[in-house]
Symmetry: C2
Subunit: 155 residues, 2 copies
DNA sequence: CCGATATTGTTATGATCATAACGATATCCG
DNA sequence: CGGATATCGTTATGATCATAACAATATCGG
């Protein structure tokens, strides 16, 4: 096994500075999200579903039929992005679309029977993934984390 | 102003279930990261830099020349992804590349003079963005958040 | 020394993401 | 009623992301 590679040039302190990338929230959040996402994909990946796709299905399961745009907001996706996700799910017959009879702008999205069955199968798996991601934390720490993350997202 | 659109079909409780998407860490982390990233892009966007690009430059500033692969690990990017980021930064003359004389597999990446100057200009802005993202939290809460996020990322 | 193994970087594929510009439809307001 | 304004969905562009397969190089073990 070759050395784990630290062969590059020696560290260079250019400017005296207390700056460290590790101290930037955005960087920490990105890595934590990578971990959570990878935990999820490890398990539901065999169903060929990504985290955003699963979130979309789960939201429809909770709320029933939604317009594409509102669905996007409820899973934190831009209109252009939720469109692509819906298209892929539709191609796999997990969701169905129809036009809103009273507002011609809207496309209503809903789970198909197959989509509903899949979500019900996936929810316990997702709960296990959440538990696995949170494993390093004690119960009270988890509650604190949820509170803090929620307040960050709200701004 | 049109109604804010809740026109879709009424909520449908399908299965009695305590499941809520809001209770899944992955979803919360994704939204918090969206917020932090958007805060950053709002400020450094005028420099035409994304958050990962900035992180790459910052890491090089901290550590000096690094192999492309190691650089990728230090900013949490896969080899295929760090490659693209380096290509874009190189095209803009913010980084320069050369081959490692002793290990022909390695490509050494380093900041150019222009890249170094840009990072030094951006660091205070990034610090302000971090502060802005953390604004909803008190000082002790921020410390707790850092601790929890760090432990999540480590697994 | 030399074959087995590991690492580096590349290529290809497919899925997110954000942004801006656009037409169509709906609502508001004078 | 009718123009100004807002919302919905689409298109286009460019940047992340993760994964798998691959050639080249380096290291290890016998």
């Amino acid at each position: 096994m070759p050395r784990t590679s630290t062969k590059a040039a020696a560290p260079v302190r250019r400017l005296a500075s207390d700056y460290r990338l590790e101290d930037q929230v955005g960087f920490l959040l990105r890595r934590a999200y990578q971990r959570a996402s990878s935990n999820l994909v490890d398990r539901i990946g065999s169903y060929d579903l990504t985290a955003p796709q699963y979130a979309t299905l789960a939201r429809l399961y909770e709320r029933g039929a939604l317009s594409q745009n509102l669905l996007g907001r409820l899973v934190a996706m831009e209109p252009a992005n939720i469109r692509d996700v819906v298209l892929r799910l539709k191609k796999r017959r997990l969701v169905a679309t129809r036009r809103d009879p009273t507002d011609k702008r809207l496309i209503l999205i809903d789970l198909t029977v197959a989509g509903t069955a899949l979500v019900e199968q996936l929810i316990p798996i997702e709960l296990a993934c959440t538990a696995r991601t949170l494993a390093p934390l004690k119960a009270d720490e988890r509650r604190v984390l949820y509170d803090l993350l929620g307040r960050l997202a709200e701004g």
